[in-house]
């Protein structure tokens, strides 16, 4: 019984790992076969910012006005101080206060 569960765990996690690693390495290997200049390169250069922005925007918007304020403060702090940790804590503080007092 116990070992049957363990076998499932080993298989499930191994499959998840294989899928994840294939995507990581696959993206890199595919991209190295594409042109290094022109339109394609411009698209690839825009990708990091576009991905990061897409990663955070829906959860910022989900917090409403306070989310936007938290994000703005985070942005200002990181530009001024170059300190990512301080910026993160300021953003969290806004959300903490908003949830507690509103």
């Amino acid at each position: 019984m116990q070992s049957a569960i363990e076998t499932q765990v080993i298989i499930a996690v191994a499959l998840a790992a294989a899928v994840t690693y294939s995507l990581r390495l696959g993206g890199l290997l595919l991209a190295s076969r594409f042109p290094r200049s022109g339109r394609f390169r411009r698209g690839m250069d825009a990708l990091p910012g576009a991905l990061l922005f897409s990663l955070v925007l829906p959860s910022i918007v989900a917090e409403g006005v306070w989310g936007l304020m938290a994000a703005a403060l985070t942005g200002i702090v990181v530009i001024r101080t170059r300190n990512t940790l301080a910026a993160m804590l300021c953003g969290m503080l806004v959300i903490f206060l908003a949830r507690r007092f509103s």
Binding site: I5, V13, V19, T20, F34, R41, R42, M44, A50
Partner: protein
């Protein structure tokens, strides 16, 4: 060619803020995992083999006495599709490196150390050892966070009361600011943001990240087509310079 060890350490140091966020986020996962009955060995096996926060949350969420293996694998595939784009965006960093180097270093690429590396690259210089140093440090922080949550069991029952769930968003907002390139990013970011919000609204799951990333990249490819002549040459220089 840069020295490996100093680059590795510089990468680890640069990842301290995101590692703090990953530890907080990891402790939440650990608490959930303890409620689902995962052992610390299961947790460490998953941390080491998968090493992808969002996907691990979904796996733990789907955890039960009889694991839905196929559904789990598909869910992980969909959530982690963004790694295809993340991997592709690392191509300039890895250019000229041997296949074995790529194979060895890509496993520990997570959202966090990838974003820190991209930000570092925009500001000055990043390297594959910088990326890897960040990955190793992040792995340690992530693992200890999940284990603290798992073994400490429910020491924070409602992490959202302390805005711990916002740590991820806040730290990635700061990193996004770090990769902002100015005017040339306006169109891609507007396209990415619009696509992400629409997809998030209408499609369940994590498709919004992929949709946003693709929309941003495509808009940059189509966008300022006329001014492309200068841009293309610049692009070539950059590609060589990395």
């Amino acid at each position: 060619m840069k020295q490996r060890k100093p680059e590795f350490i510089r990468g680890a140091r640069a990842n301290v803020p995101v590692a703090a966020s990953a530890m907080a986020y990891g402790s939440v996962l650990g608490v959930l995992a303890s409620q689902k009955g995962l052992s610390w060995l299961d947790m460490m096996y998953m941390n080491t083999a998968v090493f992808a926060g969002a996907a691990q949350f979904v796996m733990v969420d789907m955890w039960s006495h009889h694991l839905p293996i196929l559904e789990m694998t598909l869910a992980v595939l969909v959530i982690n599709l963004r790694y295809l784009l993340i991997g592709a965006s690392l191509d300039p960093l890895f250019s000229g490196k041997r296949l074995l180097h790529k194979v060895g270093m890509m496993h520990l690429v997570a959202d966090e150390n990838w974003a820190v590396t991209m930000s570092e690259q925009r500001r000055g210089s990043a390297s594959t050892w910088f990326l890897f140093g960040g990955g190793v440090f992040l792995y340690m922080a992530w693992s200890s966070g999940t284990l603290i949550g798992l073994l400490g069991g429910g020491f924070i029952t409602r992490p959202e009361d302390y805005a711990l769930d916002f740590a991820f968003t806040a730290v990635f907002t700061a990193l996004a600011v770090g990769v902002w390139r100015g005017k040339s990013d306006v169109i891609p970011w507007v396209a990415a943001g619009g696509a992400a919000l629409l997809t998030h609204h209408f499609v369940p799951g994590k498709w919004y990240i992929v949709a946003g990333g693709l929309a941003g990249a495509l808009s940059a490819m189509i966008g300022p087509g006329e001014a492309a002549v200068d841009g293309e040459e610049e692009g070539e220089e950059n590609a060589v310079g990395y």
